[in-house]
């Protein structure tokens, strides 16, 4: 591994200064469960690593209707918080299956987003919750929708000197429900062959006011099944409509065949997982009315 220096950041400016100085030869360290693996495999080299676990602003976790999660907050703090688990079950679905307990002690949503892997387990959930990513940089803060954050395999909107500070989820409307499910050959310690997050907002008339469907591991980035979403809006959330939406979601998937799965397998799984997560999201939406 190429030798690098370590900085335990105490302030946002300290982080942006180090990142700006080294450009793409410096990165933030939160859980490190992707960063250290990639460094060791020589995917890239760094001269400096900035630890943001020591930066208070990146470790906030507050729920007051809306949810603010610092980018260094590890998964276990999210799913072990009873209130958050009750308010945002769709987020907990993803947070509780990243790797095993050891990984969940360190890995967090922030790292999952910045690693920008197509099969990231927590990003689809953020998308269907209409999450906002707060980015801090040398010229101050800016906000980007989670849906737009990842731009390619291991690529995202972060520019030189910028880092992800926190993620904000708006207060869910009444009648909002969300769920995430992935398929893996093993029950734990695995990586998604396909993953789907769905959210449904029921209107007063019981019809679908809004629907979001985000797919993982079936395109270079997490991708939304727009046609399937549009189809559902305004309709009764019947099993038949959900099945039709699942079919449309399959068409949004552009998977490849690799060691983890084939194109046909992934497309088929997107159909199955969309139906299951829409059904679960609907259940949670009804409870939230």
């Amino acid at each position: 591994m190429h030798p690098f220096n370590y900085v335990a950041a105490k302030s946002v400016d300290e982080v942006t200064k180090v990142l700006a100085k080294h450009g793409d030869r410096a990165r933030c360290l939160a859980g490190g469960t992707d960063l250290l693996v990639q460094l060791r495999a020589g995917v890239y080299e760094l001269d400096a690593v900035v630890d943001i676990k020591t930066l208070p602003a990146a470790n906030v976790l507050t729920l007051n209707g809306s949810l603010r999660m610092g980018s260094a907050v590890p998964c276990h703090r999210i799913y072990e918080d009873k209130a958050i688990a009750k308010a945002f079950p769709g987020i907990v679905d993803g947070a509780s299956i990243v790797g095993g307990i050891q990984i969940q002690s360190r890995a967090g949503m922030g790292g999952n987003l910045c690693n920008s892997s197509p099969s990231a387990d927590t990003v689809p959930g953020l998308i269907v919750h209409n999450a906002e990513c707060v980015i801090a940089g040398p010229k101050g803060k800016r906000s980007v929708a989670a849906a737009d954050f990842v731009t390619g395999v291991r690529r995202n909107v972060l520019k030189n000197g910028e880092f992800l500070l926190e993620v904000k989820l708006p207060k869910p409307d009444k009648g909002f429900g969300a769920a995430y499910e992935r398929f893996t050959p093993r029950n734990e310690m695995d990586i998604a062959i396909a993953g789907v997050a769905s959210s449904i907002t029921l209107g007063a008339n019981g019809k679908v006011k809004d629907a979001k469907i985000a797919l993982a591991a079936v395109a270079p980035t997490p991708v939304q099944a727009k046609k399937a979403e549009e189809f559902l809006i305004g309709k009764e959330p019947t099993a038949a409509n959900i099945a039709k939406a699942s079919e449309l979601a399959r068409e949004a998937a552009k998977p490849i065949s690799d060691m983890r799965g084939t194109v046909e397998q992934r497309k088929h799984l997107v159909g199955v997982l969309t139906r299951r997560t829409l059904t679960k999201a609907l259940e949670r939406a009804k409870e939230a009315k």
Binding site: P3, Y6, A8, I101, S105
Partner: protein, 177 residues
């Protein structure tokens, strides 16, 4: 040029300081710098749990933690489970239940199981399997490991002070969630 960093931490209840390069993992620090070889390397990329240690109150893969990150923290390794008073009940149970064959994964399983029973003494078989899924074993098929953890959980009195606590200076109650 990258210099070694001076790190102060608490290791198995004792203040410990060392010099380490920032890029050296906690696993490499424990084994090569401090010389405690009880924590084992199985894959060095967070997929097998053989290097599991406890940092503060969470179990982590020490291969995916930097040595410099434990500044000011409390690190517990397999060498810290037994105390002058004797083996930790899990260590005794692993021996009685033949829960190890080659033993390379045993340190990781012991640290992980202790962390579980410290927070959920009455964990059932599914919960134990879920908690230990990050620790791979290739010899035992897991059966006798799960039974040993169940046995200690069943016999542990709920508010029992674990052996490790008995020796650590009296920590403020509730210091651990």
């Amino acid at each position: 040029m990258v210099e070694k960093v001076h790190v102060r931490t608490t290791l198995n209840g004792e203040p410990t300081e060392f010099l380490v390069y920032p890029y050296q993992s906690l696993l490499e620090t424990l084994r090569e710098v401090i010389g405690l070889t009880g924590t084992k390397e199985g894959c060095n990329d967070g997929n097998c749990g053989a290097c599991t240690v406890q940092v503060d109150d969470r179990i982590v893969d020490s291969c995916l933690v930097l040595g410099v990150e434990v500044e000011g923290k409390k690190v517990t390794t397999v060498e810290g489970l037994a105390t002058p008073a004797g083996l930790h009940p899990l260590q005794q149970a692993f021996l009685e239940e033949a829960s190890l064959q080659c033993g390379i994964c045993t340190p990781g399983f012991l640290v992980a199981s202790k962390a579980l029973l410290d927070r959920e003494p009455k964990a059932d078989e599914h919960r134990i399997r879920h908690w230990l899924a990050g620790n791979l074993c290739r010899c035992t098929g897991y059966d006798k490991i799960i039974r040993a953890v169940q046995k200690v959980g069943a016999t542990s009195k709920p508010a029992r002070a674990t052996a490790a606590q008995a020796t650590a200076k009296r920590r403020p109650a509730g210091a651990r969630k």
